[in-house]
């Protein structure tokens, strides 16, 4: 589904990604871990098309299409979704208006009919209930006055509504207590199916107790220095990143 080849990217002129290679197939869950400043967020932003990040080399194919040539809205319409680390607030625009607009843009792109307000309302109520969300949130302004946990849950609601093929979770666990974390993970597990793939970017292992990855990659200084299965995450939890970093540095000598 997603093929990343030798991806290099700059932020404000500084090279942050120094050649990433990664292949993610439908039905798989991948986790990217790494210490602060390793380039995890940069990777998420580059994949979803944030224009403040400059790709200098490499390519990314999303279902065979050149992803890097697409603007952010086209990526979303092609089926990519980023759950943000810091979801933004949009006062004056209700969750319903926002999501109906987004959903219909995506449907138009796919050549599907737009949903009627009635269909939309029953759909959003159904998804909100799945996440144990209060229906009142539907008419509230996007993320305005939401707690950290409610904002993250709202991201998952958006994911369930927009039905992407590929989901990127960017530090979704940051700032969440265990209960909120379980709700978010539950949303992901409800949604996961053989046609979708996930890339979970996280600093801590604990999210991976609830969203179990098929593959774990360690990002360090803009490169993937080790890949493995879910056991690698547990090992990192126990031993930290230092042993890997040392190994990596030894190899480079």
């Amino acid at each position: 589904m997603l093929v990343i080849k030798n991806l290099k990217a700059n932020v404000e002129g500084k090279e942050i990604l120094k050649g990433i290679n990664l292949e993610i197939n439908a039905g798989e869950i991948h986790a990217i871990m790494g210490p602060n400043g390793s380039g995890k967020s940069t990777l998420a932003n580059v994949l979803t098309g944030n224009e403040n990040y400059e790709v200098t080399e490499g390519e990314v194919l999303f279902e065979g299409k050149n992803l890097l040539e697409m603007d952010p809205e086209t990526r979303a319409r092609e089926g990519m979704f980023l759950a943000f680390q810091y979801p933004i607030e949009i006062p004056g625009v209700s969750n319903a208006t926002f999501l109906k607009t987004a959903l219909n843009e995506i449907r138009k792109y796919k050549g599907q009919e737009e949903v009627t307000p009635k269909e939309f309302l029953s759909l959003i109520k159904e998804k909100a209930n799945l996440l144990g969300m209060d229906e009142a949130m539907i008419s509230r302004y996007v993320n305005v006055g939401f707690s950290g946990g409610e904002k993250k849950r709202n991201e998952i609601l958006q994911m369930l509504m927009l039905e992407p093929k590929f989901v990127l979770l960017d530090e979704t666990d940051s700032g969440l207590d265990i209960d909120a974390l379980k709700i978010v993970a539950n949303g992901v597990n409800i949604y996961k199916n053989p046609d979708t793939a996930f890339l979970v970017v996280t600093h801590y292992q604990r999210l991976l107790n609830y969203i179990v990855p098929d593959f774990v990659h360690v990002l360090y200084k803009g490169r993937i220095i080790k890949s493995g299965t879910k056991e690698l995450a547990l090992e990192l939890e126990e031993k930290g990143y230092d042993w890997l970093i040392k190994e990596e540095e030894m190899e480079n000598v």
Partner: protein, 438 residues
């Protein structure tokens, strides 16, 4: 001929067509004003209060006072395109400053209330007229004198003691002429007596292509315990000139909520003054202006705290596109006597293009020692991170920008108490900025 001499000369013709009206108290005021106008000059940018607003384009033209110009006819159907609708209201219609009774609609009102035009008011409530007209104006400028000189009509609203007018009063001012460059001089008067309540929407609309000049004075007297909501929605032609002074005068425990919403005009100047002359008064001044092209909008507010234990709150927001220019000057005086004053002021602006500019200036003069005053000004652009967030959900860039504009304007829009008016103003925002509506 310079415009001052032009207006002074035109005053002679103007007087002639007043007929019986030329012997009234009102006309004596006009005569005094034109005399004074002869002695003062129109402001220049050398004047501190007009530093950022060059009125040369207004005074280098000679606008024909509307009463000397060709009358224009407006049909009832046309009116429907301009009024705010979807809620119950009383309607007063003025075309180029003249009351059109046939287009107005006053529903049943409590006894002794007056909702109508100033011309009738001066006859029917002569003493009230004399006691209130031209009484509270401060910093009278040449433009104000010009208004008084040529003012013939405008709205007059009188709410007696203990009366609440349930439905808002919508006053539609239709301005402009296809034949001439005209001067329109509405003169408005609102008197809210003790314990009364009223809500007024002044709706200014330009309709004809020719350049015109709306020069308005509105006086608002709010007695003890009275509550006045005064909405001004200004949607004049983008090539017109619009100057208004709103002067409020408040007595103890009164509340004044003023909403100043600007879309139109090539050069616009609003002076919004309120004097808080009693204890426990509240004044809320909200402003929102959306401009583009070469529009210039200058909002000057002046809150005069004269007595203790009052509060004032100001929130002004501007959305500036293309080469437009905004000015905000927020003056607050807290006089020596006005202990325990709370006065807040905020001015926020977003610039949608590189060519747009804003000059913003708080002006606090505090002579009491036990007060809480704060002011703040921010100038920024639409947030890129927010825009990226919205686009990453499949929403096109232009629509994402619209959402962020709506988000920026939200805290002012939310203060509008009439839901349908709020909706229609929301629509006008996107229409005026040529953005996709959300």
């Amino acid at each position: 001929m310079n415009s001052k001499s032009f207006y002074i000369e035109k005053f002679v013709d103007f007087e002639k067509q007043l007929n019986g009206d030329s012997k009234t108290f009102f006309h004596n005021l006009r005569k005094e004003s034109i005399k004074k106008l002869n002695e003062v000059d129109f402001p220049t940018t050398k004047n501190e209060e007009w530093k950022f607003t060059d009125v040369t384009p207004i005074i280098e033209r000679n606008f024909i006072p509307s009463n000397l110009s060709t009358k224009i006819e407006i049909s009832k159907n046309e009116i429907d395109n301009y009024i705010f609708s979807g809620f119950d209201f009383h309607l007063l219609v003025f075309v180029n400053g003249n009351f059109v009774e046939g287009l107005s609609k006053i529903n049943e009102l409590p006894k002794n209330v007056f909702v109508g035009n100033l011309k009738t008011f001066q006859k029917e409530k002569e003493n009230l007229f004399k006691d209130n007209i031209n009484k509270f104006l401060v910093n009278e400028t040449a433009f104000n004198l010009l208004n008084t000189s040529f003012a013939v009509d405008g709205f007059a609203i009188y709410v007696p003691k203990n009366v609440v007018i349930e439905k808002p009063i919508q006053v539609l001012f239709i301005n402009g002429s296809e034949k001439e460059n005209i001067l329109v001089s509405p003169r408005n008067l609102l008197i809210a007596e003790e314990n009364s309540q009223v809500s007024v929407i002044s709706n200014y609309r330009g309709i004809k292509e020719e350049k015109y000049f709306s020069n308005i004075v509105s006086e608002i007297f709010i007695d003890k315990n009275a509550v006045v909501d005064y909405y001004k929605v200004q949607n004049e032609n983008d090539n017109s000139f619009h100057i208004e002074k709103i002067q409020a005068y408040q007595k103890e425990k009164s509340v004044f909520n003023q909403f100043n919403i600007t879309f139109g005009g090539e050069i616009v100047r609003n002076d919004i003054n309120t004097k808080l002359d009693g204890e426990n008064i509240e004044a809320h001044l909200y402003g929102l202006y959306m401009i583009n092209g070469n529009q210039h909008v200058d909002n000057h507010t002046f809150v005069d705290h004269a007595k203790p234990n009052c509060m004032s709150n100001e929130l002004y927001k501007g959305i500036l596109d293309e080469k437009s220019h905004g000015v905000f000057n927020g003056k607050i005086i807290v006089r020596q006597d006005a202990q325990k004053t709370n006065a807040y002021q905020q001015n926020k602006t977003i610039l949608l293009s590189k060519g747009a500019t804003i000059d913003t200036k708080p002006q606090l003069e505090i002579f009491a020692d036990d007060v809480k005053c704060s002011h703040g000004a921010t100038v920024g652009h639409l947030d890129e991170v927010s825009e990226f967030y919205i686009r990453s959900r499949g929403v096109p860039q232009e629509l994402a920008k619209s959402m962020l504009i709506r988000a920026f304007a939200n805290d002012v829009i939310e203060t509008i108490k009439i839901a349908e008016l709020k909706e229609q103003i929301n629509h006008l925002i996107f229409q005026h900025l040529h953005k996709i509506e959300i």
